[in-house]
């Protein structure tokens, strides 16, 4: 198959084949980061702009490292210090970035659908680095990549996602991606943090952590975003750890080789104990490493697709 999308906005609109193509390309890119000179000239002369409307360190740095390993030039815009503060709209900012002849905008925004709207208004590539509660496609792709690397397949796996499902774009992207590739997904959270309609996405729902862990090949533990707590749907932190926190004791009752993932940053002693975070089942740091390969793959593919679109426009 050939990759033809100039943007990566979410996993919902991707086919199984497209997801597998990104993962296969990422597998080839992983080797680049093991070299002494960790750089290839694939995106030489291209400019990547990281446009982040929300605080982010790991995703932004991961995209920056990925772009630099492809020899692209990278510009970071943190909106607190930009014209956004003066009232510039997202579309205007995007058009200005396009006028600077940048090639890819990596955008993080607190509104669901922001990246899709931006993509409709600019001709350059847009990569969604998280939009509101909607999707965070590259995080899900790196989670799936890590699972596939560890277990050799996705089809038929039982994957449980634990935590604040309601406010989680990571959960949504993971559910889309995993179910398309044939995994069985179970979400587990306090009732107040289960969004209505999640079953229609193809996920089973439980409020019992031990049940979520029982037959799971992997558990993806989401960060509890207590800083977002404005609606009193959040339980008290210790209470949450008692009922939903992943501990050694709970893992004892799960499959021996269960894989523990977390998109970071971890709240130790809230979502999981330190022993689990640093334990043999944890692949949390491998996820970070794999994130580079996955993002290199995405940047490379969207840049190429846009070059092909431009070339065809010139011919016609």
């Amino acid at each position: 198959m050939a990759w033809t999308r100039k943007d990566l906005l979410g996993l919902e609109e991707l086919s199984k084949e497209e997801i597998e193509f990104i993962l296969a390309t990422a597998a080839s890119f992983k080797e680049v980061s093991t070299r002494e000179i960790k750089k290839v000239p694939a995106l030489r002369g291209k400019t990547v702009v990281n446009l982040f409307y929300e605080p982010s360190t790991r995703t932004r740095v991961s995209f920056e490292v990925a772009a630099k390993r492809l020899s692209a030039d990278v510009i970071n815009i943190a909106t607190e210090t930009s014209s956004v503060k003066k009232g510039e709209t997202l579309i205007d900012t995007g058009r200005n970035i396009e006028a600077l002849k940048a090639d890819i905008i990596v955008v993080r925004h607190n509104c669901s659908g922001a990246s899709a709207m931006l993509a409709r208004h600019v001709g350059i590539s847009v990569v969604n680095a998280g939009d509101g509660w909607h999707e965070h496609p590259t995080q899900a792709l790196l989670d799936i990549f890590t699972l596939k690397e560890k277990l050799g397949r996705i089809e038929g796996l039982n994957v449980s996602i634990v935590g604040d499902i309601a406010h989680s774009r990571v959960a949504r992207s993971n559910i889309w991606g995993l179910t398309k590739l044939g995994a069985k997904v179970t979400v587990c959270a306090p009732k107040t943090l289960i969004p209505p309609g999640i079953e229609q996405m193809g996920a089973n729902v439980t409020n019992d952590i031990d049940e979520a862990l029982r037959n799971a090949d992997a558990v993806n533990v989401l960060r509890m975003q207590f800083e977002r707590d404005e609606t009193a749907v959040f339980p008290e932190q210790l209470e949450y750890f008692k009922r939903f926190g992943i501990t050694e004791e709970r893992l004892q009752k799960a499959r021996k080789n269960i894989i523990v993932m977390h998109p970071g940053p971890i709240n130790r002693g809230i979502e999981m104990s330190s022993e689990v975070a640093d334990g043999v089942n944890s692949v949390i740091l491998e996820q970070v490493t794999n994130g580079i390969a996955v993002r290199m793959s995405v940047l490379f593919l969207v840049a190429q697709a846009r070059d092909n679109i431009k070339k065809n426009e010139n011919i016609n």
């Binding site: 390309t25 080839s28 890119f29 694939a42």
Partner: protein, 178 residues
Amino acid sequence: MREKAKILDKEAISRALMRIAHEVMEKNKGIKDLCLIGMRTRGAYLAKRLGGCIEKIDQATVPVGILDITLYRDDLTLIAAQPIVHKTEIDFDITDKNVVLVDDVLYTGRTVRAALDALIDFGRPKSIQLAVLVDRGHRELPIRADYVGKNIPTAQNETVEVQLEEVDGRDEVVIVEK
């Protein structure tokens, strides 16, 4: 696409590789510090076979690696079908080694140019030599092969197709007219 002429058959390919193996060992005075790196796709299999030939002659193995140059090409966007990025597999240090780069067909020289860039990123070899099964001419860069299986003069509207057992199910080299 019309097949115009068959240039090499199975036996001719293996004889050419055996001769190249001898030439490589002659030029490098044995196999000390020697390594072979094949360029995907077919060059990788040729490198493996060449390694087998050397092993037959010398009863010793030389390291063989695989190079994918997709990320180093200067014509990425000119290729109609999207190139797929494959893994580079070089699990030995090439610094101070005599590297023999192996490819199936030498044509414009642009692929070799890209491969040289890629190799330099992996280390600083003592030398880089080039072995190809077929040299069909029409160079666009100052590049030449050190070892050639067969020189085949071609027209620009022809292509040389190398088919190998490992990928294509049979061994042969043919000229095809577009």
